[in-house]
């Protein structure tokens, strides 16, 4: 890993992209590292592709804007198009393998292109709503950006109020996260 890890995450509004970025940032901060997270937002209140920019470092972080990400993740087909420009020769590009018709939009010169069956796993093994947790697990698995227990603690902080009311959600989210991690660790993807 370079000393600063730059990530771009994108998906449809409501898929939980901002939650992933917020949780990763929170977890890194709790570890005593530097983190900078910024959502990309437009005039529209809903709809559209939601993009999150995240940087984690051991040193002070510079500009919130960067040209190429070390890790770029697309949770929807439109997000593939939107994020492909952020992929460069050193980028790990992660996307959901269930997407159709994205082959032409995938970045050609990324270091590694990783399809992950996150949606399929979420649907079959858990619930479609934890798609983002599976994807976050895959990200952590593929990059080792934060330790799993920090991720769990940050999820607890973010969603603890929901877990209070429905404790089974805690288990569901944590299991989805761990399963995603397995997927991320186990997939080499296409190494260019």
């Amino acid at each position: 890993m370079p000393e600063t890890t730059r990530m771009v995450l994108a998906g449809e509004g409501g898929q939980g992209v901002q939650a992933i970025a917020e949780i990763l940032a929170e977890a890194a901060n709790e570890e005593g590292r530097q983190a900078l997270y910024i959502p990309n937002f437009g005039v529209e209140q809903r709809g559209g592709v939601s993009v999150a920019f995240l940087q984690i470092s051991d040193d002070a972080i510079g500009s919130p804007k960067f040209l190429k990400g070390d890790v770029v993740a697309a949770l929807s087909d439109r997000a593939v198009q939107r994020t492909a420009p952020y992929a460069g020769p050193e980028t790990t590009f992660i996307y959901d393998s269930a997407m159709e018709g994205v082959a032409d939009d995938l970045p050609q010169d990324a270091a590694r292109v990783m399809p992950v069956p996150a949606m399929e796993v979420a649907k079959k093994e858990f619930h479609p709503r934890v798609y983002n947790m599976v994807m976050m697990g895959a990200l952590i698995g593929a990059t080792g950006i934060i330790p799993l227990d920090r991720a769990r603690a940050a999820i607890e902080k973010r969603f603890g109020y929901k877990f209070e009311k429905q404790p089974q959600l805690r288990d569901l989210n944590f299991r989805a996260l761990e399963r995603g991690m397995e997927l991320g660790c186990g997939t080499e993807g296409v190494i260019n």
Partner: protein, 362 residues
């Protein structure tokens, strides 16, 4: 019953808008007046959530004209009053803030710049530099701090209240949509525990005693009958402003001695400059960085020194020459080449600056 505000010194991780609300509390602000506009909305949200707990007030007005005048009124009543705005809202607010200049009112205004002109984008820019430093039909008798991140937002919001009440010039904290919306760590603290004395506000109107007998009458004018009368008043304010300028102007510089080229930027863009300077120096290029922290007054003597001893500067900003115009005025007559990288309304990454520097030094 309201709680007593206790701010333990600690590292926190939050958005810039939340930082401003906490800083205003730490500075002892009494009331915020505001009208919603992205990307400053959450300053109002956080303030209106936090304020009542500590016996502070909030009033949402019908528009920015009203928010500005209400802030002026709050200040005249002896309250530490502030407002926050952006973009078109900032345009509307120039009318009341020009009155604040005329009447020497210590208003504090936080501006989170968005794209312009008009509605443009709700995201980010550095296009409100001219408006914030020189807006209004006057001479720009105002103090403007340009922040480069969350620690700055906290430190300079606290400072803005003190400076405004000490010198009685409208004071601005100039942030942007990136700083407003991003999350990063900073240390919050109780300023008094760090030895910063918070100035107590005092009322302009409604003081005790009989005017003319116990105290001078309170007369604050924004209207003058005679040219000469206005001239005298303005020159007195201008002299006051010039007198404090060297004292309050702030800047940051890195590796400017013996540099072949110095990159000049303000606000969040300077973070990309810090990164670029580091990378370029590693590659053996003699490059430095200079950041005016106060855009009004500018650190003019330091800019003068910089350009007098230098062959080239590169001005970088997310606007088309707004800070460059201010710099050129301060650097007038110097032989130094002025190069530019202007990207109005968009963020600037370190890599773009590095490419531009290499192009210039080629």
């Amino acid at each position: 019953m309201s709680e007593e505000l206790v701010i333990e010194e600690k590292r926190v991780f939050m958005t810039g808008n939340e930082v401003v609300a906490w800083a205003a509390l730490a500075a002892g602000a009494d009331i915020m007046y505001g009208y919603p506009i992205t990307p400053q909305n959450e300053i109002m949200h956080y303030w209106s959530r936090l304020a009542p707990r500590y016996g502070k007030d909030f009033l949402q007005t019908e528009d920015e004209l009203s928010a500005g005048f209400a802030t002026a009124g709050g200040v005249m009543a002896g309250r530490k009053a502030f407002t926050a705005t952006a973009g078109s809202g900032s345009v509307l607010m120039q009318e009341p803030l020009a009155m604040a200049e005329m009447m020497r009112l210590p208003t504090v205004t936080v501006v989170q710049q968005r794209g312009g002109p008009s509605t443009a984008t709700v995201i980010y820019s550095q296009q409100e530099v001219t408006l914030t430093t020189m807006g209004g039909n006057g001479e720009g008798m105002r103090v403007v701090y340009s922040t480069a991140g969350h620690q700055d937002l906290y430190d300079y919001t606290i400072k803005a209240f003190n400076l405004a009440w000490k010198y009685r010039f409208p004071t601005f904290v100039l942030g942007d949509g990136y700083q407003a919306k991003m999350r990063e760590p900073l240390t919050i603290y109780d300023p008094e525990k760090r030895g910063i004395t918070l100035l107590e506000p005092d009322p302009y109107v409604g003081r005790e005693g009989e005017p003319g007998r116990d105290r001078p009458p309170a007369q604050y004018r924004n209207t003058y009958n005679l040219e000469e009368e206005l001239y005298e008043k303005l020159m007195s304010d201008i002299r006051d402003f010039e007198k404090i300028s060297t004292e309050i102007a702030e800047y940051e510089s890195m590796h400017t001695e013996e540099a072949e080229l110095v990159i000049v930027a303000h606000g969040i863009v300077f973070r990309a400059v810090r990164e670029a300077v580091g990378n370029l120096r590693e590659q053996g290029l003699r490059v430095g960085g200079f950041r005016p922290v106060t855009l009004r007054p500018l650190p003019a003597p330091q800019i003068r020194d910089l350009v007098d001893g230098l062959k080239k500067i590169l001005v970088v900003e997310s606007a088309y020459g707004q800070i460059a115009r201010l710099l050129k005025e301060a650097a007038y007559g110097a032989a130094c080449e002025i190069h530019t990288l202007f990207k109005p309304g968009v963020g600037i990454a370190a890599g773009e600056i590095e490419d531009r520097v290499k192009e210039i030094l080629k």
